[in-house]
């Protein structure tokens, strides 16, 4: 058996083409359902851990730190700060984007956690860690109970 030939493209060898076709339907879960229905109503929901004295976003039915069951869901601020970010120049298929996109991890005010989302209405070179941003929701009619119901985060004026 030879492993001496160098090749970077398996299609130049004797090969067999195929795919892994599958369809998925994910339930969002007990806490996820509350979160996404909240988003549909223009709210961001968290769950409160009394023992650790923190509010988890996205909400969950348990606190992964103390492992207590969480039963209290609360609306949290739609504003927060950029914790870290990247400026993407390629898309998911490795293709060049016409305009770069800003993707950030946003820590919401007063909670433990937040979310990764797009940041817009600001030039990439103006973005900074610590920048105050707020969620921009789609029009109510267009919302579907998805993370994309938040169109993007924008700088707080």
């Amino acid at each position: 058996m030879t492993f001496l030939e160098k090749t970077t493209d398996v299609r130049k060898l004797r090969h067999w083409d195929g795919d892994m076709e599958a369809q998925y339907l994910y339930t969002t879960g007990i806490a996820g359902d509350i979160f996404f229905k909240g988003i549909m109503n223009g709210k961001i929901m968290g769950s409160k851990c009394e023992k650790c004295n923190r509010i988890c976003v996205p909400p969950r039915i348990y606190c992964e730190v103390c492992f207590e069951r969480l039963n209290e869901y609360v609306e949290v601020s739609k504003k927060g700060k950029i914790h870290t970010y990247t400026i993407a120049k390629i898309d998911i298929e490795d293709k060049r984007l016409k305009e770069p996109l800003i993707w950030a991890m946003i820590k919401l005010d007063g909670v433990d956690g937040g979310m990764v989302h797009k940041v817009s209405e600001i030039a990439p070179k103006e973005v900074k860690i610590g920048l105050k941003v707020e969620a921009k929701f789609k029009n109510k009619k267009e919302r579907k109970g998805s993370i994309l119901d938040i169109e993007y985060f924008k700088p707080v004026k």
């Binding site: 004797r14 090969h15 083409d17 195929g18 339930t27 969002t28 007990i30 229905k37 998805s146």
Partner: protein
């Protein structure tokens, strides 16, 4: 367990609750493509299929003729030694009469499928394939069968170059 536990968790969901949009869901279909390198043994095997021939590999230590061929003997754990042509006839080791397709969809005309131990290879050396030209109530374990090949110009170097196996009718 059961005596002390008051509540078992889990909330059953019906198809209707989902189709009615009563709960939030996320759908996704990954689009992934693969090109699997065939390697030495399978490359030769597929090339020979295109020629209408079946080939195995012999291990000189255990003296088995392995089919489908591989470049190593998993029992002796050494490289196999030589290529050996085997016959396109064999014996049904087992079979099923399937009323479901690959996606578990119901089908009217059943698929006859099974494992055929090939003549000229060592004991139990079989491959999976279809059967045809036999009624589903006539097919039997140990029945002798022969490969029915695609025409030469239709063959592409694939396991499907054999269309199916049919009874030898001895």
């Amino acid at each position: 367990m059961t005596e002390n536990i008051k509540k078992f968790y889990g909330e059953e969901l019906s198809r209707k609750q989902i189709s009615d949009g009563k709960i939030t869901i996320v759908e996704h279909s990954p689009k992934v493509k693969y090109a699997w390198s065939c390697g030495e043994a399978m490359s030769r095997f597929l090339n020979e299929l295109k020629e209408g021939k079946l080939i195995g590999r012999k291990c000189n230590k255990c003296n088995r003729i392995l089919f489908p061929p591989r470049m190593f003997c998993e029992q002796c754990f050494k490289a196999t030694n030589e290529w050996v042509y085997i016959k396109d006839t064999g014996r049904i080791m087992t079979y099923s009469i399937s009323y479901v397709d690959t996606h578990a969809r119901r089908i009217k005309k059943p698929i006859l499928v099974g494992v055929i131990a090939m003549d000229g290879a060592s004991k139990n050396m079989g491959i999976m394939h279809y059967f045809d030209e036999v009624k589903s109530d006539k097919i039997k374990i140990d029945m002798r069968v022969k490969a029915v090949w695609k025409r030469k110009e239709e063959r592409e170097g694939a396991i499907t170059d054999i269309k199916y196996f049919k009874p030898l009718g001895e």
